[in-house]
């Protein structure tokens, strides 16, 4: 006798979910929504009660946390799932993470948890192992079964992003890991508590296996407190509506919401195939030496996607051509892809008061086995595969923007690019105290991309967390006292220019203050020096790359002692070094993720990210907008002239006559520089024939050639001989 409805086992129930959808095309085979149709108002009340329950659980529990990512930056979610794992309602917070829950429940069903270790009332379960559903090990899921009259009727789930995962690098956003063994503390589904309380031994794991014991224990307390509160409330709601209504109602919510989403696509988009290409680069060469020979290399990662907007309003995303799995930190599993890419769907068509996992029922994916997002090596490293999935969020924001633009919905366009930075940090203070921390302020608040009708606002949006929030430095400095912030500002000219320009990025500058015995920082950045996903739209410029600088052995202390000012961003740092005001023994510059770097007192840690691409030709930008940019200092007169062809006179106004002439010249120069397409093709074809590429690019093409689709496109484009191989 199983624990689910009508004595079915969890596995039978979960399998039935898939079979019914495959057979009918409707969630749970519901061709008719009886409860909705009979009485829509009562149904709405039922649904809103479930949502309110999740929101209240979050508002109650979140304050327990010590973790700024949960508290301020919103990386925290409470949800109700049905027995099959579909998330029915969720609190505000990291909306994307709900997509993983059906995968997690399927995992424990397949693993036979019902028999061993058993699923009893009050048992608490935990998982952060990507192989079983969570997106990466920083995202920790804690859940509790809901029993009603001895029947499993759902799960309450708490999720948050923890500060440190105990990997080979500090923090939760690793940039180097060769396998699961270096990813850090990765827990497959485990029963960690009973009687609505975590076991004491569980705390020891956070203490012994991660660097930020205090944060992680408090986070665990927060998750388990929240799911207990939610559990009790859900049972009250079942009492109110009756178990039969509840059981069917949960399924109708999913099917009803699926229909809402499908209708949105049908009414907004022009159907068809939309292609999207993204590149990443991962540099391990020289960092690992002989310890991990297979990882002592660099990778250029080919990440194509073809979005099929079908006429029935469903979406198929084909990733054929995706780079192979590797012995790096960048692998991910399907749930991670589903989870993170949903962040591109929420703003475009899935915005609703009542988020749930209905997206899974209208989005299909082809993720080839053996590719980095469908690894076959059971020990694949996944600590920050999510960072690499990130580029695929923008499949949806960008291609759907075109699909909506084509239909005239200018206000619904929302072109976005990847451009954020986060870091992990750890050290030993002067008296020997070990500590660690991290921050994601440059990921949790970035600029908006230009749209076809207005400039993007700076510091306005965030793909991972729709309630964008950089957090307060007076909170993060308290937790990371070695990082004294001396700059957090918009950077002039640092945006994708265009007829409408993207919002400017934000630069952060920290001076290292009394690190004590040891301090190291590892930075995650998602442009990887390529900025390839940051395409800019309709002739607009792409966004700027991330900038990460580690400035070692400076004269900062001497400067400050003399009563001199300090530099505040990467532009000033470079200028001051050039002028000689600031001296440095060495400077490391990266345009994306960095290895772990050791820092000393007076060193500067300089980052810049979060700008977005432009829309339309720069030479079509209105002069009054350029004047405004100049007045506020968003662009320099130099940029106005060289990029926009706008000449300023003495009082900051545009000399329109001179500017028109300059723009004419610039257009002519474009013509002069342009090459006949046939000629260009010939030249490029020769490069292809000679295989005259950088080693990383050659390896990438060779890897992609294993895909029939890629080979066909490549051979078709370059007309290479039949026997051409890479």
């Amino acid at each position: 006798m199983g624990i689910c409805y009508q004595g079915k086992t969890l596995k039978e129930t979960v399998d039935e979910r898939e079979q019914l959808f495959a057979k009918t095309g409707h969630a749970y085979g519901l061709e008719k929504l009886d409860l909705v149709e009979e009485d829509p108002a009562t149904f709405m009340k039922f649904q809103m009660r479930l949502v309110a329950a999740c929101i209240n659980a979050r508002e109650t529990a979140k304050l327990i946390s010590a973790n700024p990512m949960s508290m301020v930056q919103g990386e925290l979610l409470f949800m109700l799932a049905n027995p099959e794992g579909d998330v029915i309602s969720a609190s505000y917070g990291l909306a994307g993470h709900i997509q993983c829950m059906p995968f997690i429940i399927k995992s424990i069903a397949d693993l036979g948890f019902e028999e061993d270790p058993e699923i009893n009332e009050g048992d608490i379960f935990h998982c952060n192992d990507p192989m079983y559903g969570p997106p990466h090990n920083a995202d920790n899921y804690t859940w509790l079964p809901i029993y009603y009259d001895e029947e499993l009727v759902g799960w309450t789930v708490g999720l948050n992003h923890i500060v440190d995962v105990g990997g080979i690098q500090p923090g939760g956003l690793g940039t180097i890991s060769t396998s699961v063994f270096t990813d850090g503390f990765t827990v497959p589904p485990t029963k960690t508590g009973a009687n609505f309380k975590q076991h004491k031994w569980w705390d020891l794991h956070w203490k012994r296996r991660t660097r930020t014991e205090m944060f992680n224990v408090l986070d665990d307390k927060m998750r388990s407190a929240g799911i207990v509160v939610l559990h009790d409330r859900i049972k009250e709601i079942i009492d109110e509506f009756g178990i039969d209504y509840y059981r069917r109602g949960l399924r109708e919510i999913i099917e009803r919401e699926r229909r809402v989403l499908v209708n949105r696509i049908k009414s907004l988009a022009v159907p068809g195939k939309y292609n999207y290409l993204h590149f990443d680069w991962v540099g391990y060469k020289g960092n690992l030496g002989r310890l991990w020979p297979a990882s002592n290399r660099n990778w250029m990662l080919h990440k194509p996607a073809e979005l099929n907007i079908r006429t029935d309003g469903t979406l198929l995303t084909d990733l054929e051509g995706l780079a192979s799995e590797g012995e790096f930190h960048c692998n991910a599993y399907e749930p991670a892809v589903r989870m993170l890419t949903s962040l591109g769907m929420w703003p475009m068509f899935a915005y609703t008061e009542t988020i749930n996992s209905s997206l899974l029922y209208m989005t299909d994916w082809n993720i080839p086995p053996g590719s980095m997002f469908n690894p076959q090596n059971p020990w694949a490293g996944t600590v920050m595969g999510l960072g690499l999935v990130a580029g695929y969020i923008f499949i949806f924001t960008n291609t759907l923007s075109y699909a909506y633009f084509a239909r005239g919905y200018l206000e619904e366009t929302f072109p976005q690019d990847a451009s954020g930075i986060g870091y992990g940090i750890s050290g030993v203070l002067g008296d020997g105290l070990q500590w660690a921390g991290g921050d994601m302020g440059l990921l949790t608040c970035v600029a908006e991309g230009a749209t076809p009708y207005h400039d993007g606002f700076p510091a306005a949006v965030c793909s991972p967390n729709p309630a964008s929030d950089m957090g307060e430095l007076e909170v993060t400095e308290f937790l990371m006292p070695t990082q004294v912030n001396i700059g957090r500002k918009l950077i002039q000219d640092y945006c994708g220019h265009g007829k409408f320009r993207g919002g400017q990025g934000i630069g952060v500058l920290q001076m290292v203050n009394q690190p004590g015995q040891f301090l190291q920082i590892a930075t995650f950045g998602d442009t990887h020096g390529l900025g390839a996903c940051a395409t800019g739209r309709s002739g607009g410029y792409p966004t700027s790359n991330n900038v990460v600088m580690y400035v070692h052995g400076t004269n900062m202390r001497a400067l400050l002692a003399e009563g001199k000012p300090y530099p505040t961003d990467f532009v000033e740092v470079q200028e001051w070094i050039k002028e000689g005001t600031l001296t440095a023994e060495s400077v490391e510059i990266y345009n994306g993720s960095t290895p772990t770097v050791q820092m000393q007192d007076g060193d500067l840690y300089v980052t810049c990210a979060g700008s977005r691409g432009g829309w339309g030709d720069v030479l079509e930008r209105r002069f009054d907008l350029i004047e405004e940019d100049l007045e506020y200092g968003w662009i320099s007169p130099e940029c106005a002239k060289t990029v926009y062809g706008a000449v300023t006179n003495g009082n900051g106004k545009i000399d329109t006559k001179a500017s028109d002439a300059l723009r004419e010249q610039m257009r002519n120069r474009r013509k002069e520089r342009s090459v006949d397409a046939k000629e260009w093709w010939k030249q490029e074809r020769q490069v292809v024939l000679d295989k005259n590429w950088h080693e990383d690019a050659r390896n990438m093409f060779a890897d992609a050639s294993k895909y029939e689709k890629f080979r066909k496109q490549f051979h078709g484009m370059w007309q290479v001989p039949e026997d051409y191989t890479l």
Partner: protein, 718 residues
């Protein structure tokens, strides 16, 4: 009225109406209403008072000459923000943070619904309170201390000395730009204000040299507490609106004085205190709008000796919920208004989009029904001038509202249009019976309010069954039946002046100032008693410092030290946590370990009320992060009149006839009564409707209402 009768005048100006509550020293009261005049608030102030005085056959002069207090809470502050009509502000800030007011942490979504938050295309920053050209950076940094306590630097350490030349030059440039007020803001200034204070000195020096009188304000004067973006926003709000708003309030005062009023005009601060319009931190009044009602609730909670009360204000566009728990009003330290998030104590009030003018949408394809978030405001509904149906249309269609007595019959409403639009826009698309679906939409509304109320109580560990629900606002009494069916309160009360209840609250406000200060005191179990007592000594000293500020400010306002009394409190957390919980404490000085235990005990009691015991973490130790002091003096307050109890049977003249209304799936006959004619001691059994010129109370068959000696209506189950 007797020769020596004195008066208390209280007015609450909303976006559309200015309400007046006028009460004499015997407890007789009168109410008035007048259209708010944002351009010249003295006109609506006088208009509303005249309306109230007129009911007594008196003039506003007669009232003003014998008034012992006039309190006015206006709309000028919000208007200044909305119309962007504030001062030209200059800002001196830590170098490198010049764009902080523009970045504003990325909080572009404050006040939006979750659907709109997800739909990020709709996110926008608030209008700038300071122009980029009027911002200057000064090199300096104060360290804020650390979680790792003595393993790293202490709070308030100077990490980078201030480069004074930059301050001198910056101030001069700002003056040359013509700024009207200068704001100074340093990171970490709440731990040590020395750099901000020095900036201010330099500014005053340069201003004097320029022969100007430009005011200068520092962030630590406004709020010496952490969170730089919120502290800066508070400072900027203060600078941007304060003087303009003060002018408007003094203009109101002048009009009262011209009629013989002899004292200072008072206004209401966001944390529920009355203060004179010359109070230095006037920006604290910026979001005092909804607090009036809650203060009225607080007054009644003391009067009725019911320390636990949920206050619910339902009007056309408002649906505000506030709480009084154990006689205290919870304070929100980072409240939000008009898209801004500030750091100033404000009575915690939750505003929902669920008033009577909120629109009802039905989507035929999905069967989805939504209420709000848009409101048609004074257009009321399709019964009046709106084209979209509202909750008000439903109330009318179901027969709850008397179409001939809307606002006492001063407004003509169209029942037929409401019904046909409701049918067309909602019932037909959903394929539902108009009356059934209407009733269920009200269920949805009541569930929304109830869930939110439950959430507020639950997140503080409170049980609704121990609370009295106080209902007010024009539509509150009409919908309380739905809420009462969803939540079991100990008692449900409607007061006779429910429709102008907020202005009553303004009259009831206490005169006090509140001072907050960030502190860092750690208390761990392995600390020897001497060290713990040292921490306690520091705590006493910090409280004493704030008390001194209270003395000084109240002395400047004309009170002597012996008139002042203090209340103390802390914000505390387990070491490592980011949030802190505010609790009042009995002792204002720590002289023994026992005193210290009492303080920590107050925190623990509060914490375990909220969370399961598994969430406790005493082994980590405690950190006291902030303290507060409230310095209070006496102020005249309204008196509630009592009436002799009559029989249960209402007087014949109160009965207005019968009306059919739709409830619980059927049309039933409701007896209707005129509220003003009911007498103390009467009992009205449902089904009944009690009508008033400004509001309606609906009583289902399962309920009845008892009118007590104060003419408060107690809504009960049979």
């Amino acid at each position: 009225m007797a020769e020596d009768t004195k008066y208390i005048v209280a007015e609450d100006a909303g976006g559309s109406m200015t309400d007046c509550f006028l009460v004499d020293t015997e407890g007789n009261f009168s109410t008035g209403k007048f259209m708010t005049n944002p351009e010249d608030e003295s006109i609506s102030y006088m208009g509303s008072l005249k309306d109230a005085a007129d009911r007594w056959g008196m003039t506003s002069e007669q009232i003003h000459q014998k008034a012992i207090s006039c309190t006015y809470t206006g709309t000028s502050m919000i208007n200044i923000l909305v119309t962007q009509g504030g001062a030209n502000v200059g800002l001196l800030i830590t170098r490198g943070f010049e764009h902080l007011p523009i970045i504003e942490r990325g909080l572009t979504w404050i006040g939006q619904t979750y659907e709109d938050i997800l739909h990020q295309q709709l996110h926008e920053h608030t209008p700038w309170l300071v122009q980029p050209k009027n911002i200057r950076g000064v090199s300096e940094r104060i360290g804020i201390g650390s979680y790792y306590m003595n393993s790293h630097s202490f709070p308030g350490t100077v990490i980078i000395p201030m480069v004074e030349a930059e301050a001198y030059q910056g101030i001069q440039e700002l003056l040359d730009n013509g700024v009207e007020i200068i704001a100074c803001m340093c990171l970490g200034s709440y731990t040590n204000p020395m750099h901000e204070n020095r900036m201010k000195e330099i500014a005053l020096e340069v201003i004097a040299k320029n022969g100007k009188e430009t005011p200068v304000v520092t962030s630590s004067e406004m709020c010496a507490v952490p969170n730089e973006t919120e502290r800066l926003k508070t400072l900027l709000v203060q600078c941007y609106i304060q003087e303009t708003a003060r002018k408007a309030l003094i203009h109101v005062e002048d009009s009262a004085k011209a009629e013989g009023y002899q004292r200072e005009l008072m206004t209401l601060l966001g944390y529920g205190a009355a203060a004179t319009v010359r109070y230095p931190k006037l920006a604290e009044a910026v979001a005092s709008g909804p607090t009036g009602g809650l203060l009225g609730g607080k007054f009644l909670s003391e009067f009725l000796k019911q320390p636990n009360m949920v206050c619910w204000d339902l009007g056309c566009t408002t649906c505000d919920i506030g709480l009084i728990a154990g006689g205290l009003m919870p304070v929100n330290k980072s409240p939000e208004f008009a898209g801004h998030k500030v750091r100033m104590p404000m009575i915690a009030i939750d505003c929902l989009g669920a008033g009577c003018s909120h629109v009802v949408h039905a989507d035929a394809a999905s069967g989805r029904i939504t209420i709000g978030p848009e409101s048609v405001r004074a257009d009321l509904g399709t019964m009046y001038t709106s084209d979209i149906v509202t909750i008000g249309d439903i109330d009318l269609t179901l027969g709850y509202v008397n179409p001939d007595y809307y606002l006492g019959g001063t407004i003509q409403i169209d029942t037929d249009r409401a019904k046909s639009e409701l049918n067309k826009q909602v019932a037909e698309p959903l394929g539902q019976d108009i009356y059934d679906v209407s009733l269920k939409i009200l269920d949805l509304l009541h569930a929304k309010v109830a869930d939110h109320m439950n959430g507020i109580l639950l997140s503080k560990g409170l049980n609704p069954a121990e609370f009295t629900l106080l209902v007010y606002g024009a539509a509150g009494p009409l919908h309380l039946w739905g809420l009462d069916r969803t939540i079991n309160f100990a008692e449900v009360i409607v007061v006779p002046w429910a429709a102008v209840f907020s202005s009553f609250g303004v009259a009831a406000a206490e005169y006090f100032h509140r001072y907050d200060q960030a502190v860092t005191f750690f208390l761990t179990s392995d600390m020897p008693d001497e060290i713990r007592l040292m921490m306690g000594g520091g705590l006493s000293q910090a409280w004493a410092g704030l008390e001194e500020r209270g003395y000084q400010e109240l002395e400047a306002e004309g009170f002597s030290r012996d008139q002042v009394s203090f209340r103390h409190g802390i914000s505390c957390r387990y070491i490592g946590q980011l949030s802190n919980w505010e609790v009042p404490v009995e002792v204002g000085r720590v002289e023994s370990i026992d005193d210290l235990n009492k303080i920590i005990g107050a925190f623990e009691t509060n914490y375990t009320n909220i969370y399961p015991s598994g969430a406790r973490f005493p082994e980590a130790g405690y950190q006291i992060t902030e303290i507060y002091v409230e310095a209070a003096v006496d102020k005249p307050k309204p008196i509630i009149q009592s009436y002799p109890l009559q029989g249960k049977e209402p007087p014949k003249e109160a009965y207005k006839g019968d009306r059919k209304a739709y409830l619980d799936g059927e049309w039933m006959t409701f007896k209707t009564y005129e509220q003003d004619l009911l007498e103390a001691g009467n009992r009205i059994d449902g089904p009944a409707i009690i009508e008033h010129t400004q509001t309606t109370t609906l009583i289902p068959p399962q309920n009845y209402v008892e009118v007590d000696e104060y003419k408060f209506m107690h809504y009960r189950r049979k």
